[in-house]
Symmetry: C3
Subunit: 346 residues, 3 copies
């Protein structure tokens, strides 16, 4: 009952960069602490890594991931394209090596530039085949997709339905390629937020019991009066907008972004106090055995109870992987009550 | 030709409340007069009525509805859930008793928390079965659904297509459960308006020849400088936004809301005058027999004519059930012309 | 590789008007010069031409089109309706006469008021039949549709998929009929922009390799302080909004609108300079043969290259039909570089 899948933060890290330590960013993600530690770390072998460093990126990933005890999930992003078989061939090779090398350590792979349902099924088939070849149980290697083509959005409802019965875990928005595919013009004020798409992404994730994750935000820094500083405001606005629409998490490119996305996508003190105390009062009333339970003038049916319980389960899931975050963020007494609560409705 | 289905107002009334007269709100809806009288009265046996009063709510409904000559439509809301069979069992029992007891008096039932198309078809099947068991003609008990789950929105296009060939009458938005299902966070400024969903609801209703109805607005009152007063502004803004997007009606929780939704969703004096006079001039030109008719420099083809006619038919439908509203709202001469007009194109 | 289909401007012209020269507007569209010349000229036999002049409009079109060397595309709009067979009969007759008379001169026909996928397929079947009867090669007569009914939007994803494999070329928005079909109310501030629909139109066009075109804007003039003047601001705002969402072109009702839409929907000097110089630098680096190419710190993969190339190809397509526009708009040196560039990735 406590099994809530978390992805407040989808942090990509280039798997190899042209620096002395080519695994600098990957290592930094794997060792991040406190609120800088993401729920998902995504070693990026696709657009984040240069073509001539992709092999090294794959090696870095296979070598480094087992070296550290990363408490979150590991989801390498491989190459793929609905319109180019050479990308799919490289993607298959990357998945094969990842599963062969660190199949026990990764939670799944992130597949970019998928097209219509058939292409998503094709990617799923590749993972299934490789998983089985290397002796892993069916479904042990998950799949997440980047929604960044007209075709993927066109088929999103079918993909969501397929997702409800398959290894699909998350729908992640990819605005850069999406805008390019649609020929969206930046006439000086950037690109649209694509609110219609975000609403749909949130809806289809809910319909298919999937996670939904927003796109990257790359205006990392601002300049004013000679000073360059981290653009905390605009990223927070995007993350809050995503939470407002029911997306489960946000894309992070940078440790400070991870702090912000982790924070916005967890229940705040007030929300947690409210839902914990509702369940406590519900449990007390239930113990008195007077039949249906009323709280604050409202009857608590199973659906209402589930909403309270969801808050508690989410905090427990965060606590299970990142106790330093919950301990820093919540009052000690409240956290204790959260962890002790009986969550059964009947 | 005059048969335009009306639902400017979808007014829910708890079927039983813990008061001396447990049918207080139901009775008040059934006896409302003037602009406080809704087009649809929805005795609510679902979320509006406490679990321990649901039986009494059903009894109240079966007892009271035949007692009054309610000129609008009666649409009890029963229990249902795409994800919980016990809710569906109770819903089936409620529908059975309603049809057995007052099958002649109700126009249909409102089914909440439907899921994908298959679940909507399942609900439709339950109604069909009960209708036939009690000897009613096929289709005499209508069905409306609350769109409040990710699955229902995901399948909305299929549901609309199914609706075009079935007993489905209206698509009603349910924002509270919808926001909870999607995990939408209220970060201090409430929930989104879900404009993408509203546009789709309006479109799919049109595509399936269904009615589309907005969601409830529960900030009934405002406080300022010590005074608590009815929040007329914000509700009107919501209703106008819904009308702007082509929704046919709005949800009302309260007699003053009913006044406002009834008013916004009927043609205003200027619109009626414009369309009545267009038809009058069209009829005069037609009588002269000079071929195609031009009005204000525009040719009147059948599609254009239908737009004018629709305004007139809507006012006639309101007049048929609520003459006190049309007589109060429109100039006597204009109303007379509206009722007399020949509406045939050829 | 240079074959980019252009439709920056979809300019409708009534095929016949009650004036001394009933083909006045058609002739003016066919002979327009400079930036007033549209990419597509649409002789309108539907709503733009009065019922009693439709035969004359058809004759005008068949007579005038071959008289002029119009460098853009010719797309007559015929009559059609998903809900009225008499419109479809007239449409079939119009298509038949157009193909018989000027099948070599037209690029396709524009079909309005289509409904669900089945209706779009029916229209496509009519064109296929007529095309074959008159001995034209399959696919030589294209089809574009006006999206202006709830049914067409409801089936847009299926229509886009069908479009990817058929003679369908463009999806054009028709807001006037759309608002009427949905019953959208103008409560004093006009109609919505239908942003959800526009986002979808852009997406589905991309998913089906189709063009997407915005709807007409008919507030051609403004009045202020006694002066009536062309409403340049509001039309530009609409066109820029459409470009921002990735629509390929805009609807024009008037030569000045054509100037504006042609201008907004072509790459500006800065965009062209940027992409031309990227390709020049890419080609130079490729010639040095040092493997993967980096520009401005970013690796240029095939997908990135395609984005640059697309800008160049679009300008080449404009130059091929309207050299006076490119020569006026771009610096001579830049245009020369644009036309000379080697566009192969490998």
């Amino acid at each position: 009952m406590d099994d809530v899948r978390l992805c407040r933060t989808f942090q990509t890290a280039p798997a190899a960069v042209p620096k002395d330590d080519s695994a600098k960013y990957l290592r930094s993600g794997l060792t991040a602490e406190g609120f800088q530690a993401p729920d998902w770390l995504v070693p990026d072998m696709e657009d984040g890594t240069a073509p001539n460093m992709k092999d090294e990126g794959l090696e870095n990933t296979i070598e480094l991931v087992p070296e550290y005890e990363f408490p979150g999930e590991i989801w390498p992003r491989v190459e793929w394209s609905y319109e180019d078989a050479s990308f799919r061939d490289r993607g298959r090779e990357q998945i094969d090596q990842l599963v062969a090398g660190i199949g026990d350590e990764i939670d799944g792979v992130v597949v970019p530039k998928v097209g219509r349902l058939e292409d998503v099924e094709r990617a799923e088939g590749v993972i299934a085949e490789i998983e089985s070849e290397h002796g892993y149980e069916e479904g042990s290697i998950g799949m997440s997709i980047i929604v960044e083509t007209g075709r993927a959005r066109s088929d999103l409802r079918k993909i969501s339905k397929f997702g409800g019965e398959s290894r699909l875990v998350a729908l992640v928005f990819g605005p850069v390629d999406y805008a390019a595919e649609l020929g969206a013009r930046d006439l000086g004020d950037g690109h649209p937020r694509w609110d219609g798409l975000l609403e749909e992404l949130s809806n289809e994730a809910s319909a298919g019991d999937l996670l939904s994750i927003g796109g990257p935000f790359d205006d990392l820094f601002k300049q004013r009066a000679g000073l360059t500083y981290y653009n905390a405001d605009d990223y927070a606005a995007q993350v809050e907008h995503e939470a407002h629409l029911g997306l489960d998490g946000s894309w992070s490119l940078y440790p400070k972004q991870t702090i912000q996305a982790n924070t916005v996508h967890m229940p705040n003190e007030e929300e947690l106090e409210r839902d914990v105390s509702k369940i406590e009062r519900f449990n007390a009333a239930k113990a008195e055995g007077t039949g249906a339970v009323t709280l604050d003038g409202q009857m608590v049916d199973e659906a209402t109870f589930k909403v309270f319980r969801n808050t508690v389960q989410q905090v427990r899931s965060i606590h299970a992987t990142r106790p330093e975050q919950t301990e820093e963020y919540y009052d000690e007494g409240l956290l204790g009550r959260t962890l002790e609560l009986d969550l059964s409705y009947r």
